[in-house]
Symmetry: C2
Subunit: 189 residues, 2 copies
């Protein structure tokens, strides 16, 4: 079985991605490194920089994942700082900012960067949807206020398997899994 290390301290993220990767015969390991992320409005840039710094530390095949919720009526806020915003003003804060707002379109975007001694590859997953009018379901992060297009449920009302089919992270993880499972032995696994 192929292995790859996910650099994160977020066990929810680890579990979601593991579920998909295992289907492709990829075993995910989790490692929490004490490294800084950069500030940028582009999560591709944040993830790439983080993957490079992490690779300097551990020198073995790794992935990082960065994601954000981009709300059109709020000029992309909270975007790259979704995690901080969720921790401080939470879903209640977002709903308050969106109160009475008719344009509720939002995009959840995830970027995975894979890095080893030969490859540095980026995989992007995006899902459009809208911000709900109330908090529905559990889930973590902004899941309880995001309704993906073609669904009536928020991510917070879905089980992991169902969410993975729709989600930005699920899409990016699938793209990575398809690529990585075909990588053969070219890389230093």
């Amino acid at each position: 079985m192929k292995k790859v290390t996910l650099i994160t301290g977020n066990t929810n993220k680890f579990k979601e991605m593991s579920l998909i990767l295992i289907e492709y015969g990829i075993e995910l390991e989790m490692l929490d490194l004490d490294l800084f992320e950069i500030q940028s409005e582009k999560i591709e840039e944040i993830a790439l920089n983080y993957a490079r710094n992490a690779y300097k530390e551990i020198r073995k095949p790794l992935i990082v994942e960065d994601s954000g919720l981009f709300i059109k009526a709020l000029n992309g806020f909270p975007g790259p700082y979704s995690s901080y915003v969720n921790k401080t003003i939470g879903n209640e804060g977002i709903l308050r900012l969106m109160y009475d707002e008719k344009e509720r379109t939002a995009t959840f975007k995830a970027v995975i960067v894979y890095k080893d001694d030969k490859f540095e590859e980026t995989f992007v997953g995006e899902i459009k949807g809208e911000i709900s009018r109330e908090i529905r379901g559990n889930g973590w992060g902004f899941d309880p206020i995001f309704i993906p297009n073609n669904s009536k449920k928020t991510f917070g009302e879905m089980q992991s398997e169902e969410k993975n089919k729709y989600s930005h992270r699920g899409i990016a993880t699938l793209k990575f899994a398809q690529w990585y499972s075909k990588l053969g032995n070219q890389s230093s696994l």
Copy 2:
């Protein structure tokens, strides 16, 4: 006249600090470097990291300044990401989040880090106050919604000279000016 280079692309910041430093015989120069800041909830950490990276580039005496507005009822939000938050949801967004909120206490905090070949010094300025109930005055950033303690005006309703007496940035700049003007010729000026 002593010189020091402020690493920033923000001309408002440059002008505010120049006004104070010139009183201490310090000429401020401005340089906009294309360097990343790190993500952190501690602006001291962001400023220190940025000063070190900038020093690697230019190898001459420099200062950096990072500041943020920490609102108690919002768990410190927008904090280190004040600039991004201001650009996206703006003062209107903050007022909306604070609508009906009685606890309006907030702290504006500025950190200046000076670095040369011998010294690496941090200067902190803090001013407590509260979030106004409406946007008042002009000014940049969150100035039009912050009323410092012992004032009835928002920062946005003050001229630079008046604001500098109160402000977090003014206080930190003064501390730096007092230290730097006494530094003598120990440093590689």
